[in-house]
Point group: C2
């Protein structure tokens, strides 16, 4: 059975970055640049006033206060047709280009305008050379690489890209992720569960996790523990970049998922990882080129009269799908905490790699336990916990957790703490690896 780090390595060996696409700036938030972005102009493109005030020659104010003649006014967006001569000033607005001759801008609050036909201004503030001026190219020089490929786009990158004239950018495509819950015991959230039934919580939770990461979830509903239904719904999921299956991968008699995946041509990379919760996780790859072509199977199904709701759409997959490239398949355990933990450790790693976010591996932060804890077991345990940043540093408190089906525990948590395998007591204050959710 693989360790967690072996499983993550196996995932990263298989999973490839998605191709770059050209997208509008307004939809680029959270995506990763697929190109270097070079400044096409100096920024600012001219010496620029940072304040509303008067552009002056600092040498005129060597003696402190002075009264200067106002010879012009420059608004933002205008260029002065006059220069500033000796004992002259030009009124200037924030963002306007500094006129010839001036080397300082004194803010309007530190000046006093005198009336009269010959407009004059008393400069009371200091006129240090360079005051309130941003020099051409001081922020960015033309030709400079402002943003490198691989950078994730936040609001400030959106601002910088707009300043650089990039209304569109090359970014790695966001994965479409099909989410399918499996199990005869599941009913929809709108239903009252009958005897032995529970509501389908994993599918909406996984879809929300995907949305949060920046992927594009496609909910496929619930498949029954029955080969035909699983085959149809899994086939639909394989048209996406990733297929997340919840349930159906443990050792039970009705755990048909791995068998159906094999039948459809998915190659198993691993089944089971030494981890608690989440041990039964399955990971594999369905390759549209090397695997048995899905379309062949669909045609056969139709020939046999099987219900294939979507085959009638012709050659267009209703889920939007990808044109080429593999589908990465995760079979996640059905218990909600196991599903959450596996999604954070393994699925997130794959999604980050596909989106171009590197390093793609889960990155722990260090935090100190608030209470003593005794951990036992033959597998490393990821325990739901609550991290708080305090003046004394990062502190982490374990939440009450009655096992892998305890969804209420995840609601109290915002992270998980890793306890290595073995029986050991961890004193309050022990520094642990913590993975944020």
């Amino acid at each position: 059975m693989l360790t967690v780090s072996e499983a993550i390595k196996a995932i990263l060996t298989e999973v490839r970055r998605l191709p770059a696409v050209r997208i509008e700036l307004s939809s680029a938030l959270g995506r990763v640049l697929a190109e270097d972005v070079i400044a096409d102009l100096d920024s600012p493109p001219f010496d620029k006033s940072l304040m509303d005030g008067f552009a002056v020659r600092s040498s005129d104010l060597a003696g402190g206060t002075a009264t200067l003649r106002v010879v012009a006014e420059i608004m933002a967006g205008q260029v002065a047709d006059k220069s500033v001569g000796r004992n002259e000033a030009i009124r200037i607005m924030t963002g306007a280009p500094i006129p010839e001759g001036a080397d300082s801008v004194v803010p309007v609050e530190e000046t006093r305008l005198l009336g009269g036909p010959q407009s004059e201004v008393v400069i009371e503030g200091a006129a240090r050379p360079g005051r309130s001026i941003l020099k051409r190219g001081e922020s960015t020089r033309r030709g400079q690489r402002v943003l490198a490929a691989g950078r994730q786009i936040r609001p400030q990158e959106i601002g910088a890209l707009a300043e650089l004239g990039r209304a569109e950018v090359q970014a790695f495509r966001a994965p479409r992720v099909a989410v399918l819950a499996t199990g005869d015991e599941l009913v929809d959230a709108t239903c009252a569960p009958g005897p032995g039934q529970i509501r389908n919580s994993n599918e909406p939770m996984l879809a929300a996790q995907m949305r949060q990461i920046g992927a594009d979830p496609v909910s496929l509903g619930i498949a029954r523990d029955e080969t035909a239904d699983l085959r149809e719904k899994i086939s639909r999921g394989l048209t996406c970049d990733v297929l997340l299956l919840s349930g159906g991968v443990s050792a039970g008699k009705l755990d048909l998922v791995p068998a159906v995946l094999a039948e459809l041509g998915a190659r198993q990379v691993f089944h089971k990882v030494q981890v608690k919760p989440g041990q039964p996780i399955w990971f594999g790859v369905w390759d549209s080129i090397v695997s048995r072509p899905l379309v062949g199977w669909i045609e056969r199904s139709e020939a046999h009269g099987a219900a294939t709701r979507w085959a009638s759409h012709g050659s267009t997959h209703p889920t939007g799908g990808r044109d080429t490239g593999p589908c990465y398949v995760f079979g996640l355990p059905g218990n909600p905490v196991s599903s959450m933990v596996c999604c954070e450790l393994f699925v997130r790693t794959a999604i980050r790699r596909m989106m171009g976010v590197e390093p793609a591996e889960p990155a722990p932060i260090r935090a100190r336990l608030t209470h003593e804890h005794f951990s036992s077991g033959s597998r490393p345990t990821y325990h739901p916990a609550h991290l708080q940043m305090t003046a004394e540093g990062a502190l982490v408190k374990l939440v009450k957790w009655v096992g892998s089906a305890d969804l209420a525990a995840t609601v109290e948590a915002n992270c998980m703490v890793l306890f290595p395998e073995g029986n050991r007591s961890y004193a309050a204050g022990t520094e642990m690896d913590v993975f944020l959710w």
Copy 2:
């Protein structure tokens, strides 16, 4: 002039939470619950197997290994019609209800099934009472408040809500935020700037900041420094819950924005805050009830033949707008770093309050400076910086910053460090208040 904390207090005195609306679970991520959510059932609703294995009576295994007769099989979603008698076992799947008589589940990996018509199983693992069983109600009891109003919805809350049968929830409405850049110097990101011109970077940046917070941005483009254009575009913006204006609020002659806002009936709450960068920030409230009705102004404009592109839509505002309630207006400085800082300190506070996220105030975390820094000035300074979580705690490194128009500095930063007013040297290792971006 107000201090930052006085300005934040003034904002929180004015800004009210938006009304609750009923939304689908699939669009609830990031929103705040407007109702307590009470469990309608015990969770799990029955004693539930956490593993695939055999349900047994622990008393039968007091002596260690035993061979038991397999009398039935229970799949998830089924209920046993038999109970487990002495020296009997029932095969059980993960998620299935524990049959009568059994008090322990031994995982299938620790058992050995014997063939033959009379099916028997050798139980090799320990059968502690309660093993691999989640008791009915152990995660959540019927009638228990699982989620309280005011909680922000993450993927695990989505999972819990689905488990509780809530396909729809009451959540506070997300604000629609109009974003309008102002200034004759601005050209669109798709244009090459002429002499004295720069590209419009603030509007896309602010829209992305709003999207990131969970608000719904409406981009209104660029308004010229001219009363008629400002009046038309500001009027459109006032139909949203929030209007963000970039530029046009400093002391210059062309800073017409406060005048136009006053004319349209907006009440100024403050203009200027003791903060660097961002001093000229304006905040006010336009109330659809007490302010001069906008629709009256539009009719008048039409009577005067003014171009009011959207008035032709009749009573429906093209921006979607709100039905009632005020519009909160922020006039943000035009320089991008000032705009960023003001948005994070002031606008984010208002948005959090409107969305129901409390506390709404900016919450600093503590981090230690990596390098010595001399800070000077009569205003507290928020300096762009890069925060890193290390094994030695939170460390913060100031980024090169050549002033409030230096957008490149924000791209290197992921936070800002507060330096109080006054001239003082801060040694490497000094603990500072840091605000994450």
